[in-house]
């Protein structure tokens, strides 16, 4: 996926005027937050679970090397293989290599954001292996040559007509405005693919160190068909998904579905532990786990370590006013919304992603709903600091802050200047009490009026009050 994050401002402007996108985003806002709220209300222990999940994740990160070692050893005991990949390129090559060993022509895929992150589909195609996305949303996107705009509802930016159009074009069937008909069509088309694929690739929501298992949570069952039918199952996961035990996984599963879709539990939670056992009649003969780092180990021990607690539930973006207004594609890379604004700079570099941590109203809603209590606004602020340190902030911002600092460190001058500015703005506002246009503040006044100050500064008012008090 091409990086378009530097164009955030233009993309956002276009998105705001895109009536179809706005309609589609309406579905998101009408759905997710309410469903999550009702699920949370039914689980009185929810906040206590969140505290425990935060602490457990912190414990895991402090012992990350040890849990990963334990996980690896158990996968091997189960008859599987583990591949460690420092970069996206390493991961792509490793996966292609496995596919080639199997002489694979087609590969079915369950939903996986990590494979988006490493740009797997394009790479496989370029090298003669055809990937087939099987999650309904991902399938629609693949037909359209599109990319996910949300981490769990990938096609949230599309409307029914878009889907109908894409299916009509590729399936050569009459168009339909019934989602049930469209889904049945996809089911039928993909049945053949599931059966024909040589390799199945899924992601993982969790890696269980105790048992060497990977877990996927899906509602459709495509992830299961992807892994049971082909001869080879490849799990692509990132390193921070390891948890100690099945008991610990249970804690996260209680939080995941409720935070994500507001379900009590995801329909299919499937543990995979190695390859087919000697007397089993089905299941893959080969089991590979590809562990992708891609910048995550660099976050350990830094101010961004807390981001590694993320369980990819999407609650932060579902509740984000910025995401809700501009949609996921505006963020210009794989991970959108608040979690993306923290992760993307790490993965593609703050130089290209500098606008993302600024695309926030700092309303704090993301942190409020995050099941592992990641202080997303704080982490975005850290990126802003980095951006400033690296002189990446726009000149106007740097000069503005520099100018402000000059006055702020000289109190006498500051008072004199702010008194002047306050009087000037009062004059500008006149009787209406509102300022329509303000030099250098177009970003504010283009879209709303600026209230007129009283004409006196805080310090002046304070002194006057003190005087009045004394006279009384």
């Amino acid at each position: 996926m091409d990086i378009k994050s530097p164009e955030f401002k233009q993309s956002a402007r276009i998105a705001l005027q895109d009536a179809n996108l706005q309609k589609a985003l309406g579905n998101l806002k009408a759905g997710f937050p309410g469903k999550r709220a009702s699920a949370v209300a039914r689980m009185p222990e929810f906040d206590a679970l969140r505290d425990q999940a935060r602490d457990l994740k912190n414990h895991i990160l402090e012992h990350l090397d040890l849990y990963l070692e334990a996980f690896e050893a158990r996968v091997v005991e189960n008859g599987g293989q583990v591949h460690w990949c420092r970069t996206s390129e390493d991961a792509r090559q490793t996966i292609l290599q496995i596919c080639r060993e199997q002489n694979a022509k087609t590969v079915t895929k369950g939903k996986s954001m990590v494979t988006e992150e490493i740009n797997l589909n394009e790479y496989l195609e370029e090298h003669g292996v055809q990937p087939v996305e099987t999650d309904l949303g991902e399938y629609i996107l693949q037909l359209r040559g599109d990319h996910p705009s949300h981490i769990i509802a990938p096609a949230i930016h599309l409307n029914l007509e878009d889907v109908s159009e894409a299916f009509h074009e590729h399936h050569h069937r009459p168009k339909s405005d019934d989602p049930a008909v469209l889904m049945a069509e996809a089911r039928e088309m993909l049945r053949k693919q599931f059966a024909a694929a040589d390799v199945g690739i899924t992601g993982a929501n969790f890696l269980v160190a105790e048992t060497g298992s990977t877990l996927i949570a899906t509602n459709e069952g495509n992830g299961d068909l992807t892994q049971i039918l082909p001869k080879t199952h490849i799990v692509v996961s990132s390193i921070e998904k390891v948890v100690p035990t099945l008991e610990d996984m249970s804690l996260f599963l209680r939080l995941l579905a409720r935070s994500a879709t507001g379900q009590e539990f995801t329909v299919y939670n499937t543990l995979s532990s190695g390859n087919r056992r000697p007397d089993d009649q089905d299941g893959p003969e080969n089991f590979h786990v590809v562990l992708v780092d891609n910048g995550r180990s660099d976050m350990v021990g830094t101010e961004f370590q807390e981001m590694l607690r993320c369980i990819r539930c999407s609650a932060c973006m579902n509740h984000c006013p910025v995401y809700g207004a501009v949609g996921g594609h505006s963020y210009g890379w794989v991970y959108p919304g608040p979690m993306g604004s923290v992760l993307t700079p790490q993965m593609i570099g703050i130089e290209k992603a500098a606008l993302l941590p600024n695309a926030s109203t700092f309303c704090g809603k993301c942190e409020e709903v995050c099941p592992v209590r990641i202080p997303l606004p704080k982490l975005m602020r850290h990126w802003r600091e980095k951006e400033f340190e690296k002189h990446l902030s726009p000149k106007a911002v740097r000069w503005g802050l520099g100018g402000w600092a000059f006055f702020a460190t000289r109190p006498g001058l500051y008072r004199w200047a702010s008194a002047g500015a306050s009087r000037f703005m009062r004059l500008l506002g006149g009787r209406k009490g509102k300022i329509r246009k303000l030099p250098l503040a177009g970003g504010w006044t283009d879209h709303r009026d600026m209230p007129t100050p009283t004409g006196k500064t805080f310090m002046q008012q304070w002194n006057e009050r003190q005087q009045q008090e004394k006279q009384r």
């Binding site: 089911r187 459709e220 995979s272 089993d280």
Partner: protein
Amino acid sequence: MSRADIFANIRRGLRRSEATEAQRETVRQRLQQRPRNIIPSRSQHEHDALVELFVRMAREAAAEVVELDSLEQLPCAVADNLEQKQQHELVLASDSALTELGWAAVHERVECHQRVAQVGDQASLTLAFAGIAETGTLMLFSRPDSPTTLNFLPDTHLVVLSKQAIVGPYEDTWDRLREASPGRLPRTVNMITGPSRSADIEQKLQMGAHGPRQLVIFLIP
């Protein structure tokens, strides 16, 4: 190469080289003792209440629940159920508890097979290992008698669950599972809560995406 780099990087971040013996011990303990985290109060009740909770939650997740007085009633109940769905073919798991039932009595209504599932199969019948009351979830696992394709390919998945196998929270199944499969887990463990679904088109929930369109649970004493 990558492996060494990744571990070196993690350890650098943690400001240590190899982990201390104390840290190793902490990890060993957690993996061996497997402490439980908070268990929601909803799943801590007497067994009868858990059975009731299971049925309620499973129905909420859009599973059909059929209560039987005995396992012997199963062939007839299955035939009735499939008839409603206008289905008449069934792939059975090879567990003797299932195969030894009186299928002959319903052979005119149900055509039974024992094999892995194939594309196009109408219905399958398997035995659940456990039922988890907390969310109305079934637990099944792969074994020679019960191939996993049976749980996913057919249009209708019929599952037999004994009331004795119903527990409160997920945690209660893990110890049972470790006992049933000593040394290592079965290749796959499936936790199933209702039939397949998707809301990928305009966030409108549709049932029957890729897995079974219907999930029927036969509850036996």
